[in-house]
């Protein structure tokens, strides 16, 4: 099957989605990230591997945090970094996505980190650029956010050592979440035996079971004996009364508080891709508890993004 992420040698040329990655490829990225994590602990947090390369962050949709972590990752690899907030520049003047990218290629950029509100945007760009240009999907619509899926897998491996006896519960807005999709694919590929999704019916896509997950509408049942709890952000714009009645109501029925956390295993970890809404999907005390690994996730995210960029930049067709 044609896989636009791979080059003619079967190596990773773009990172567009978790689907289509082999278990070996994901493990290779996680192992490499482990090496980069050590670099972040040094006084000199920089290696020369991407010296002379240019990484261009092209964000058609705003996201300060993701853009910042990609920027730090690229800079720690010694690349030059250009940040383009296209949401506020040329697009508003009528330029097409491809024209924007081609202009940046003409400026000799090597790697593009792309975020777009339309699903498939990164695939579209990847299929139109020359083979020596690498595209990293930093989130496309509600489709995929592969580096988040990889950093979450890295986080789980850090705390739980291996994947093959875990119960992982994903809680919240599955319907609109590219993070949930990427995580479900990654956990399936890595061999997690039990993936649960916990959400009200209005926030679950149809036929989600086909992705190999167990559906729970009752959070108390869904959290029982879980090893890993992944909370998702409830976007405020969903609180219009159609999807959800109110923030207070959501917190009461689906918010993660200490009582609910105690239903999971004693050593369960709590994850969140950020930015989190305290008092909406997660209780403040839980977010700051010893079981929370939300801030380590941010640190790991930089190492994982360094690994992805270094692996892609080393590929030649």
């Amino acid at each position: 099957m044609f896989n636009p992420q791979l080059n003619n040698k079967g190596n990773l040329n773009h990172l567009l989605s978790i689907e289509g990655l082999s278990k070996e490829k994901i493990i290779q990225i996680l192992d490499t990230a482990e090496s980069f994590l050590k670099i972040g602990e040094r006084d000199v947090k920089k290696v020369p591997i991407l010296r002379g390369k240019t990484v261009c962050n092209v964000f058609f949709e705003n996201s300060t945090r993701t853009r910042t972590t990609f920027e730090i990752a690229a800079k720690r690899l010694s690349a030059d970094v250009i940040n383009l907030n296209v949401a506020t520049s040329s697009q508003s003047k009528g330029e097409t996505v491809l024209d924007t990218i081609n202009n940046l290629i003409a400026m000799n950029a090597d790697i593009f980190v792309v975020r777009h509100s339309s699903s498939g945007a990164a695939h579209f760009i990847a299929s139109h650029v020359k083979p020596n240009i690498h595209i990293i999907n930093a989130g496309d619509g509600n489709h995929s956010h592969p580096t988040q899926g990889l950093l979450d897998a890295f986080t789980i491996r850090k705390y739980k050592t291996n994947f093959n006896n875990l119960k992982v519960a994903i809680v919240g807005d599955i319907l609109n979440s590219r993070v949930a999709r990427s995580n479900i694919h990654a956990l399936n590929i890595l061999g997690v035996p039990e993936i649960r999704v916990i959400a009200p019916k209005t926030l679950l896509p149809d036929e989600i079971e086909k992705l190999g997950v167990h559906v729970f509408y009752d959070i108390d049942k869904g959290l029982k004996d879980a090893d890993v709890i992944m909370m998702l952000r409830i976007q405020n714009e969903r609180m219009d009364g159609i999807m959800l009645p109110s923030q207070e109501e959501y917190f009461k029925t689906y918010g993660l508080n200490q009582v609910r956390l105690d239903l999971a295993k004693k050593d369960a970890i709590v994850m969140h891709p950020g930015p989190m809404n305290r008092g909406v999907e997660i209780d403040s005390a839980v977010a700051d508890s010893e079981q929370s690994v939300i801030l380590p996730q941010v640190t790991f995210g930089i190492a994982v993004r360094m690994a992805v960029m270094a692996i892609l930049a080393g590929q030649h067709s």
């Binding site: 482990e34 090496s35 006084d43 290696v47 692996i311 590929q315 030649h316």
Partner: protein
């Protein structure tokens, strides 16, 4: 061809290192061969000594043509190296490019007073003005022959010669 006895070479290297070490010494093994040698000689060294290991993957000069090595391990230098005497240990010395990469990485951890390079074998293929100060044996091989230190099933070190066909 007859390859040298790896165990004997390691023993000789250990004796030479033993003569040099003092409280200011840090031994750093280059992964993977140098690290194996370091772990082997460490218990029988005369005195306790600080150690580290280094993987040069992120500092290599051939990244743009060969990409990132699939199996890379984190470098581990947790000890202070400012003002120290580092003895850098590797199994086989050929072009000097790995040592150049290792030295560049070391200087991102601090400023040692001195670096000494100790290897089992020098292949006489030097491409840079870098050469080992301690070398047990010199042998000449052709470019397509890869000499590697391996630990066999009896926990004995041997050399393996692999030929690549270009």
């Amino acid at each position: 061809m007859n390859l040298p006895n790896a165990e004997n070479l390691i023993e000789s290297l250990k004796n030479k290192i033993n003569e040099m070490i003092d409280e200011n010494t840090v031994l750093i093994g280059v992964q993977r061969g140098g690290e194996l040698i370091l772990q082997k000689i460490l218990p029988s060294l005369g005195s306790a000594v600080a150690t580290g290991s280094i993987d040069t993957s992120f500092y290599r000069d051939d990244f743009s043509s060969r990409g990132l090595k699939i199996k890379n391990k984190p470098s581990k230098i947790d000890t202070e190296i400012n003002g120290k005497h580092i003895i850098l240990i590797d199994d086989v010395f050929s072009s000097g490019r790995t040592v150049r990469a290792a030295m560049n990485e070391i200087f991102d951890y601090g400023r040692p007073d001195k670096i000494t390079l100790a290897v089992l074998i020098d292949r006489n293929e030097q491409e840079l003005p870098i050469s080992p100060q301690i070398c047990i044996e010199k042998i000449s091989l052709s470019k397509n022959q890869h000499l590697e230190l391996v630990l066999d099933e009896n926990k004995k070190f041997t050399f393996q010669l692999k030929e690549s066909h270009v």
